[in-house]
Amino acid sequence: MTALTPGAALEPLTYEITRADLVAYAVASGDHNPIHQDEEIARAVGLPGVIAHGMYTLALVGRAVAAWTDEAEVLELGAKFVAPVLVPAEGAARVTVAGTVGDRSDDGLLTLALEVTADGTKVLGAPKVTVRA
């Protein structure tokens, strides 16, 4: 676990997403949008291929935050989905969650400044995380 000192770098964590993960996530979340499963439908609506649920990527942020903070209570979590995470039919997309510890408020709330990329491309915009840690 990284020391949560304002300004400290958080160890980048990389996760893989496969098509099988997207199938399991659709069942677990209830989001059966076919753009996350079906190449033809994804292309028909103008996407470059099957993309991960934005919420899958945000869930990975949740995992990284839990790992960095020893499962601290999360008070705020959110982001814009600024670029799709393309998930190939074979193999996996790789999402890296990195960042630095931000400010600590007087009441003990800590913000984390994050950078979330998939194969080098920034995929989350204005990610916001506040924890009690």
């Binding site: 996760y15 893989e16 993960d21 399991a24 996530y25 069942v27 677990a28 979340s29 209830g30 989001d31 059966h32 949008n33 076919p34 753009i35 439908i41 028909a44 609506v45 103008g46 996407l47 649920h53 934005g54 919420m55 899958y56 945000l58 869930a59 990975l60 949740g62 995992r63 935050v65 839990a66 499962e71 209570e73 999360v74 008070l75 705020e76 979590l77 959110g78 982001a79 814009k80 989905f81 799709p84 916001k128």
Partner: protein, 131 residues
């Protein structure tokens, strides 16, 4: 079909209550690549939030495959725990059109069985226009 801008400000009926069970939390945590955990993942409230979004899209006859998630934010009053029964009530907070796409902003209040607010979930959906 464009989204009707007069929807702004309208609150939709609450979703069916969603019980937060160990099985549901384990399936969710496993799907996102984590192991079994006693802690409910912070994005787990998307389950009931998505139910509210889906009810809204069905009511407006919007095809899910034309929707891309643009933004999602959660503000938690307390952590969600196994045993909670959550209900979401969605309000449309904005509709605008950019480059042939409709941008729909929503805010859902997630309440527990006592009616107490647990989490506010704001979502922006991009409705991709075109053919």
């Amino acid at each position: 079909m464009p989204i009707d801008a007069s929807l702004v400000g309208r609150a939709f009926p609450p979703t069916s209550p969603v019980p937060v069970t160990t099985e549901a939390v384990t399936a969710f945590a496993t799907a996102i690549g984590g192991g079994a955990t006693a802690t409910v993942p912070p994005t787990f409230p998307i389950v009931v939030t998505f139910a509210a979004l889906q009810d809204f899209l069905a009511a407006e006859q919007v095809e899910l495959s034309r929707i891309v998630h643009g933004d999602q934010r959660f503000r938690y009053e307390r952590p969600v725990v196994v045993g909670d029964v959550l209900t979401a009530t969605l309000t449309v907070t904005g509709v605008r059109s950019i480059g042939g796409n409709d941008i729909i902003s929503t805010s859902s209040e997630l309440t527990d069985a006592t009616g107490a607010l647990v989490c506010t979930a704001t979502a922006t959906l991009v409705h991709r226009g075109g053919a």
